[in-house]
């Protein structure tokens, strides 16, 4: 399955699940990345890391390694 890190810029995805084994999994969920939630990969910076997602009315930047723990449909 695709992860949030695989989204193209401007692409929408619906979160399927969060990899519970990732050390930041709880934090990622607390920030609002929950199953069923729509996210949009919003901005492309020089290193393409961290990645900025539009979610729940705001923009949140997370590292690429953390985005890989978010599975999207």
């Amino acid at each position: 399955m695709k992860t949030a890190a695989d989204l193209r810029f401007g692409e929408r995805g619906i979160i399927h699940s969060i990899d519970q084994l990732h050390p930041s999994a709880r934090r990622i969920i607390e920030y609002g990345f929950t199953p069923g939630q729509v996210i949009i990969l919003a901005h492309q910076t020089l290193f393409s890391d961290p990645l900025a997602f539009i979610i729940r009315g705001t923009t949140i930047a997370i590292r690429r390694s953390e985005a890989k723990s978010i599975l999207v449909e």
Partner: protein, 676 residues
């Protein structure tokens, strides 16, 4: 239950996620007796104020921003512990939680956790105007029913709605039973539980978030309340964020333009603390040397007079001299933070910094470190992750600060033949490059062993909200800058002053009034020769002589050792101290540098005919200054900002060893290849 706390004025704690308008609400509500205290044994700050709410005096406590009741770092642990019972303020009678109307579900998450834990909560919804501009509004009445807590709308910019909030505060406090016996329930932290809270919140949001157009239509219908409840936004669909923010971010976060804007912003920031602060620092210097002269005029050149002028007045001066840089840096940082740029800047440079165990937010402190480590260490407060903050503070003394410049200028002038200024420039540039590379290397190595060095284990992560761009609130920025400056003066000030007086004592005693041949000398010459004589026979020079065997392997002698000790007051003191101990006296700076250099060329290691200052030993000395933590103020501020002596002690020892051994290796390698 603690009786003392009950009998005091009721306590209301302000809680809220970052960027929810909490600080601005605190500033609206706060009144007399504003104070900032840090949580015992930590560096987490709380602001408190006595507030008059419709005739009743209450204590208002502003706590650090949190996004969840489950702590993820030692600092969050402190913030959350304080919600249950602050060691100085006790249990809160009521919580006011600020939530941004535009990210209702994310911020209601915290409210829900708090009500589950049994807290008495008033939810204050902020930034309603932005939500309404985007065509939505929140039905506070049904939100109250859904959450089972009081809800009201406020405007942090204009203060609209604050009277309603005050009324509700008063009502709540009057009706609240004395036993606010909430259970300590943070939840299990189980991710399924968190997801189910979010699901519940999502449903609530659907019911209370109304499209403005439909509300207006419904106002006309008779049975409006019932109808409103049935209208909602479409579930988990992400509503568009602020359009202007999105448009600005296309440029600010652009792969090329974004980086260019970042470097221009940082260049402006750096030049400001480097050049803008300079005249102010000179002014403070001048005022205090004037004061010292006046004091000498009153007390004469007795040991007491010199203690007052050289020890105390100079010491106070060396505390205050950092203030212009601290104030300028914090004003600019506050501005960038409040506008919303700081988070973006951190995102742009996070990648390379994460490679050496740091964070995008380490960039500004590191850059400031090239001006001065004191404001830089304080600026590290903006790094939320404790491990990354401590690591940043740890390596900051390695940044080549401006106080090293006079030292490098002297040593480079010694190395290169006159008239070849460009070689000097090249050497200076390489010193800066070297300082960047070495601090990166040290950070990289230490982050691998951070557990032992910094004593904290935090998982490294970068999850950062990029807030909506806003017009900065200048008043709040000035207020927090003044608070930071005050905490520097009150916390680090006494330590720096004590160090300065001790250092003065070491370089002044025991031979306080040396006998010299005064024939044919002016009063000033007598004073200069006397001070030179005094230092040469002082405790510091005794200490220096003990250092002789240590100085020899790096090609130097005890007199340089004494200057190195004096340089702990501030690195640039090395130059004047060297002049003092080599008995160089000349009027202005240029002439002094020239005669100091010629004195250095002629200086022999005592009882030998070997030169003290050779190409190899001077290069070794430069290396020494790149690494050594020759600055007591840095030690004091590092203690202030890390909360204990542990980190400054490790810094001092480690960087001294590093400086000495690398200097030793350099000098001896150079000698092996034939460079004396």
């Amino acid at each position: 239950m603690n009786k003392n706390i009950i009998e005091k004025a009721p306590l209301i704690s302000l809680v809220g996620p970052p960027n929810s308008g909490k600080t601005s609400l605190f500033n609206h509500l706060s009144g007399k007796n504003l104070k900032t205290v840090n949580y015992p044994g930590s560096t987490v700050f709380f602001s408190s104020s006595e507030v008059n709410v419709h005739g009743e005096l209450i204590n208002l406590l502003d706590s650090p921003g949190i996004i969840s009741l489950i702590p993820d770092s030692p600092d969050e642990q402190v913030a959350i512990d304080a919600l249950y019972a602050h060691p100085m303020f006790g249990k809160p009678d009521l919580l006011v939680v600020t939530i941004d109307a535009n990210q209702l579900s994310r911020h209601l998450f915290l409210v829900r956790q708090l009500t589950i834990a049994g807290f008495d909560v008033i939810a204050a919804i902020t930034m309603n105007d932005i939500l309404e501009r985007n065509g939505y509004t929140i039905d506070t009445h049904s939100l109250e029913l859904e959450l089972g807590c009081t809800v009201c709308k406020i405007d942090g910019r204009t203060g609209k709605g604050l009277d309603i909030l005050r009324n509700k505060l008063k009502d709540k406090l009057d009706t609240a039973s004395a036993n606010n016996d909430y259970k300590r329930n943070n939840g299990s932290g189980d991710t399924d539980e968190l997801i189910s809270i979010y699901r519940e919140i999502g449903n609530i949001e659907e019911r209370v978030l109304l499209k403005l157009s439909e509300v207006n239509r419904n106002v006309r219908t008779a049975n409006e309340a019932l109808n409103i409840l049935n209208i909602g936004s479409s579930g988990s669909e992400t509503r568009t964020i602020d359009k202007l923010t999105l448009r600005i971010d296309r440029i600010i976060l652009h792969p090329q333009w974004g980086l260019l804007i970042f470097f221009i912003t940082m260049a402006v920031l750096f030049t400001s603390i480097f050049w803008l602060a300079l005249p102010l620092m000179d002014l403070i210097d001048e005022i205090f040397s004037e004061l010292a002269i006046i004091s000498t005029g009153i007390f004469q050149h007795s040991w007491l007079g010199d203690l007052i002028s050289d020890g105390i007045i100079n010491g106070v001066g060396s505390v205050l001299v950092f203030l212009p840089q601290i104030i300028i840096l914090f004003l600019l940082l506050g501005f960038l933070e409040d506008v919303g740029y700081l988070a973006r800047g951190a995102m742009l440079v996070d990648k390379p910094l994460s490679k050496i165990g740091l964070n995008g937010k380490s960039f500004v402190p590191m850059l400031s470190g090239f001006a001065c480590a004191i404001p830089a260490i304080m600026a590290a407060r903006t790094i939320p992750n404790r491990r990354e903050r401590l690591l940043t503070i740890f390596i900051l003394p390695l940044m080549s600060c401006s106080a090293r410049l006079p030292v490098f200028a002297l040593l480079i002038a010694f190395l290169i033949p006159a008239g070849n200024a460009w070689i000097g420039g090249l050497i200076l540039a390489s010193i800066y490059m070297f300082s960047i590379l070495s601090s990166s290397a040290v950070a990289g190595i230490i982050s691998k062993f951070s557990n032992q060095f910094v004593g904290v284990m935090d998982s490294s992560s970068f999850i950062l909200e990029l807030p909506t761009y806003k017009v900065p609130k200048i008043k709040i920025i000035i207020k927090s800058t003044l608070q930071s400056s005050y905490s520097y003066i009150s916390k680090a000030g006494p330590v720096i002053l004590t160090f300065s007086v001790v250092l003065w004592f070491l370089t002044y005693f025991p031979n306080t009034d040396p006998r010299i041949d005064e024939d044919g000398l002016t009063v000033q010459q007598i004073q200069e020769i006397k001070s030179a004589e005094r230092v040469a026979t002082s405790y510091a020079s005794e200490l220096g002589k003990i250092l002789q065997p240590v100085m020899e392997p790096i090609g130097l002698d005890w007199r340089v050792g004494v200057s190195l000790i004096s340089a702990f007051a501030a690195r640039e003191v090395f130059v004047s101290s060297l002049a003092l101990i080599f008995k160089v006296t000349a009027g202005d700076d240029d002439a002094m540098q020239e005669s100091l250099i010629s004195a250095m060329r002629n200086a022999k290691i005592e009882n030998t005919d070997r030169n003290v200052f050779t190409t190899s030993s001077v290069i070794g000395l430069i290396i020494f200054f790149v690494f050594a933590l020759q600055c007591l103020s840095t030690v004091a501020v590092s203690k202030q900002e890390t909360g204990s002596w542990r980190i400054p002690a490790v810094q001092l020892i480690l960087f001294s060893i590093l400086a000495y051994s690398l200097s030793f290796v350099t000098v001896n390698l150079l000698r092996v290849i034939g460079i004396a």
